[in-house]
């Protein structure tokens, strides 16, 4: 960012530096965003600044499911119409949005905030695993659905959680893995095909 700081007004340079800290934002993108903000009407820029502050001040983690929320406990955890005996474990809050969009699940959630990635030094202690175990102390929960991503880290997390949860006598299930809707069989990899074959189902009349 030094090339920018020498020829740019100090507040603008600071803004570029701040954008550069964001994930996926390189030096050029940071400059573009900063100059876009500079040309923005003041009211819009203030609304953006206020939203950032509001998010930091008002959004917190639900003390039960660890999802991001404005009220604690969150609306899902306090919804009486939801099935309270099933917990769906996901990696990130955005995964909940995807599952809710599908309208196929009416139980509770638990957000781990990541997945076990030994090569990156991310272990179970870095995730919300102890909070999940805490929730199982009540007899209410009978099933845990492991909905971690079907990649190496997600599978490692699912296998690790299964080891922890099975001895507690709770039913542990994993989201089915197989061919995606809209995919082509000829391009499927061996692991996906093998799991799709294992999980085949009888066609109803």
């Amino acid at each position: 960012m030094n090339e920018t700081t020498s020829a740019t007004a100090a507040p603008l340079a600071r803004l570029i530096d701040e954008f550069h800290k964001l994930p996926g934002i390189g030096p050029k993108s940071a400059q573009r965003l900063a100059y876009y903000l500079l040309r923005m009407p003041p009211a819009e820029a203030q609304a953006l600044a206020a939203s950032i502050l509001e998010v930091k001040e008002r959004v917190t983690l639900c003390s039960i499911c660890q999802n991001v929320t404005e009220v604690d406990p969150c609306r899902v955890c306090t919804d009486d119409r939801r099935e309270r005996s099933i917990i769906c474990v996901v990696e990130e809050p955005l995964d909940i949005l995807a599952l809710e969009r599908s309208q196929s699940y009416r139980g509770l959630y638990h957000v781990l905030h990541g997945a076990i990635s030994p090569m990156d030094g991310i272990g179970p202690e870095d995730l919300k695993v102890s909070e999940l175990l805490q929730r199982l102390r009540s007899d209410e929960v009978t099933e845990i659905i492991l909905a971690t991503n079907p990649n190496l880290e997600g599978e490692a997390t699912a296998m690790y959680l299964t080891r922890l949860l099975k001895p507690l006598g709770v039913k542990v299930t994993r989201l089915a893995r197989g061919l995606p809707v809209g995919g082509d069989l000829e391009y499927a990899d061996d692991v996906t095909l093998a799991r799709a074959m294992e999980g085949r189902q009888e066609m109803s009349g």
């Binding site: 996926g24 076990i116 030994p118 090569m119 990156d120 030094g121 272990g123 179970p124 492991l146 990649n151 190496l152 599978e155 490692a156 699912a158 296998m159 690790y160 299964t162 080891r163 099975k166 542990v172 994993r174 995606p180 809209g182 995919g183 082509d184 391009y187 499927a188 990899d189 061996d190 692991v191 996906t192 093998a194």
Partner: protein, 260 residues
Amino acid sequence: MPSNRLYKTEAIVLHQRRFADADRFLTIYSPTYGKLDVKARGVRRTTSRMSGHLQPLTRCMLQLAQGHSADVIAGCETMESFPRLREDLDRLSRAMYAAELIDRFIPERVPGYVTYRLLLDTLRRLEESDQTDMVLRCMEMRLLDQSGFRPQIDLCVGCAAALPPEQNFFAPQSGGVICRACTTGVAGPRVLSLNALKVLRLLQRGSYNDVARLKVGDELAIEIERHLRSYIVCVLERDVNAAGFIERLRREGSRRPIEV
């Protein structure tokens, strides 16, 4: 690097990290081009035709297009997916360790068929063998050898005399084993039992089949692991992350395959 814009190579995917909305950066290890960071576009989408072929610990045939900052994967096909590694957390954690070890030891863009073959053999052995820890020890010793850090375990690194058949000391910072008389003034010598020395020598000189036939007790296996790990940490000047996870699994549970 080839002169064509497009080139093909076999590779093992070592590591992946998220990039932009739906892309990933992959660290791959190719026998022809060495270790490369390449870009895989759109592979985080469920409809991606490539994502399943590009999971870490997959051996695949890749078609790559030369890019400005990083080459981009244009096509791929699985050659070996090592399914047993993915169904057993103990095997998986050790395979991750093997991949991380290669990632840490091998500099970028240095072709090396021998080391590639070592990784491939290790992944195959981790699938088949029940002595997964000894498979890793075998790999560690060969990798140290191939990368020019072969530890001296025949002679004392202090006085260059033959090591007496008794308890000696392993001194990672000195590059190998030292006899009791030479320990004075040496940084961090660790007690090395005679049996551990014998196994280390077998690991260094013997074939994998010789090592596989050996029955090593838990205590001795842990002693050998600690010595080799201390040496690797000394060479790399950092720890191998996956080693901590393996230790945690060992502490927490037994070695049974887990079905999910």
